[in-house]
């Protein structure tokens, strides 16, 4: 069953001079097994939106349904629904607190009241998933690690919950190019192998283009576009309005096309881009 966001409006600090409406009438369905990317500039409401997905915020009006259960409702169904949505915040390494890496990753599973050996297994699996050697790191203090490693520990802490849906709020912010590459690969792997539904917030269009199968643009609290990437990145006006720009690769292909090379512009990975350009060049040579 999907996550359904129905006509959600959210206002921060209502009835005070600091009142601010962060979301306006947003409706969105996140299908099970999809990879949704949410993009928008700072303050467009994307972080507020994703915090509705596991009931951290409840809509001022409208409702959010996860697997058919209303998140704002009281009772077991709503609580279970909240638990099946994992959330990785921006700079998740700032939430580490335990004395050892293993204990920190085990925090979530422990709260779920799992059996000891299950917790241990999940910690090992999660550490393996984020490429941290269990023997080497399990008893190290997370505060001795590098920034990139700390982030991996924090993400492992959420992955260990085995969520059905995983929300990541700018998970690659502040990472070096290699770290970001590795993390993206891991997220894609989680999506493909473990069939986890992913919601990915970012303003890096190159990242989004490579991984998403549904793209949502936010601007000033409103959802201005929801489409597949093949169409979304060619909506020049909406991209402009949202303060975003098309992925570099799309821009390059469009530039080539504008200069007379008959190239297919819908390519979101470098490999596909190269393929398209070569195909176009071949066609051109054959025509000559």
């Amino acid at each position: 069953m999907p996550i359904e966001i129905e006509n959600v409006t959210y206002t921060y600090m209502p009835l005070t001079p600091f009142e601010r409406t962060a979301l306006r009438n947003v409706s969105l369905t996140i299908e099970e097994g999809s990879f949704t990317a949410i993009a928008g500039h700072t303050g467009s409401g994307k972080s507020t939106l994703v915090q509705h997905l596991n009931g951290l915020l409840h809509p001022t009006t409208g409702r959010v349904m996860v697997d058919g259960a209303d998140l704002a409702a009281k009772g077991k169904a709503a609580k279970n629904a909240r638990c099946c949505v994992g959330m990785v915040f921006q700079y998740p390494e700032h939430q580490l607190f335990e004395e050892t890496v293993a204990a920190d990753i085990a925090f979530g599973p422990k709260n779920m009241e799992l059996a000891e050996d299950e917790i241990d297994k999940r910690v090992r699996d999660a550490m393996e998933f984020v490429d941290l050697d269990y023997e080497k790191y399990h008893s190290v203090s997370p505060f001795q690690l590098s920034g990139g490693q700390m982030r991996r520990v924090a993400i492992a802490g959420v992955v260990a919950l085995k969520p059905k849906y995983l929300v990541l709020d700018e998970p690659t912010a502040g990472l070096d190019p290699q770290g970001r590459e590795r993390l993206l690969k891991k997220i894609v792997q989680l999506h493909k192998k473990e069939k986890v539904t992913i919601v990915f917030v970012s303003h890096n269009m190159d990242d989004i283009a490579r991984v998403a199968d549904q793209v949502v643009f936010m601007n000033q609290g409103e959802m201005i576009l929801k489409d597949i990437p093949q169409r979304a990145f060619f909506e020049e006006e909406k991209l402009q309005a949202a303060g975003l720009s098309a992925p570099q690769l799309v821009k390059l292909l469009k530039g080539l096309r504008a200069n007379g090379l008959d190239v297919e512009t819908a390519a979101f990975t470098v490999e596909k881009g190269v393929e398209n350009i070569l195909a176009a060049l071949r066609r051109k040579r054959n025509a000559d």
């Binding site: 700032h94 607190f97 709260n111």
Partner: protein, 267 residues
């Protein structure tokens, strides 16, 4: 949610009270506090109450907010009222158990509560109409004369400014960490007291770490911009006494004189 807290309870606006120099407001607040304590006849209380209510009206701060500021002291007010009601000797109008309720007691209880309420309202009015930064600037300025006696006025004000500046930041941070831990299934609002105290550890540890990190970064940034304390430092927004300040001083003095006059005549 945590982010809904207004710290320093500043209520932005452009009323007369907002435009007064913060120093004027602090000095006049002191004057009124003295007024409240010195003049204790029904008429002067009436005048002071009327005066406070009209100030609230002029400040354009909604009454709802003012009442909210009294709320936390509700129990203290009730306690004071009861103690005074039962402990002052005089003509009794009722007896409850071993306590005798007297007319004098009732009178005093009402006056003392009124006194407390006026004090709270007036000081809230100061914080409602003055931004925390303006307030610390004013304090630094007013403490200026004591610098000669070795009082580190600038340093104290800078510390207060920094503390105030970081209150919203830390609240935001706490909010974020709480949400992150909640997403990992921790529960802050149920269970035994011990359980709840324990559930604070996952919030406090990251919060302290981030506070230290921020402090470190700020110290570095200040040093990089050659901050060396208050000597010879000027302000970008210097405080200035304007006409409305003189008018406010004049009116308040006139008001105090009236109260003195009433006291002398003995009404």
């Amino acid at each position: 949610m945590l982010t809904d807290i207004t710290i320093g309870q500043y209520f932005p606006g452009a009323s007369l009270l907002h435009r007064l120099d913060p120093r004027t407001k602090i000095i006049l607040l002191f004057l009124f506090i003295i007024d409240i304590f010195v003049f204790d006849t029904p008429l002067s209380y009436g005048l002071l109450s009327l005066f406070t209510v009209s100030l609230i009206y002029f400040s354009q701060v909604p009454m709802r907010m003012m009442i909210k500021s009294i709320k936390p002291l509700w129990w203290i007010l009730l306690f004071t009222f009861l103690i005074n009601l039962c402990s002052v000797s005089g003509e009794a109008f009722a007896h409850i158990w071993i306590f005798a309720l007297t007319w004098e007691g009732l009178r005093q209880a009402v006056f003392i509560c009124l006194r407390l309420i006026l004090l709270i309202l007036l000081s809230s009015l100061l914080t409602f109409t003055t931004s925390p930064l303006a307030l610390t600037d004013a304090l630094e300025n007013l403490m200026g004369p004591f610098k000669r006696l070795g009082m580190p006025a600038h340093e104290l004000a800078m510390m207060m400014t920094i503390a105030l500046r970081f209150v919203p930041t830390l609240i935001e941070e706490t909010d974020k960490i709480m949400k992150a831990q909640k997403s990992r299934g921790s529960d802050f609002s149920s269970g035994s007291l011990l359980h709840r105290v324990k559930s604070l550890i996952p919030i406090l540890v990251p919060l302290f770490i981030s506070a230290f990190r921020r402090a470190d970064e700020l110290a570095m940034a200040m040093e990089a911009r050659c901050y060396r304390g208050g000597v010879g430092r000027t302000q970008m927004k210097a405080l200035r006494i304007t006409t409305i300040d003189y008018v406010a001083y004049g009116a308040s003095l006139l008001f105090a004189c009236t109260l003195v006059g009433l006291k002398v005549i003995g009404i």
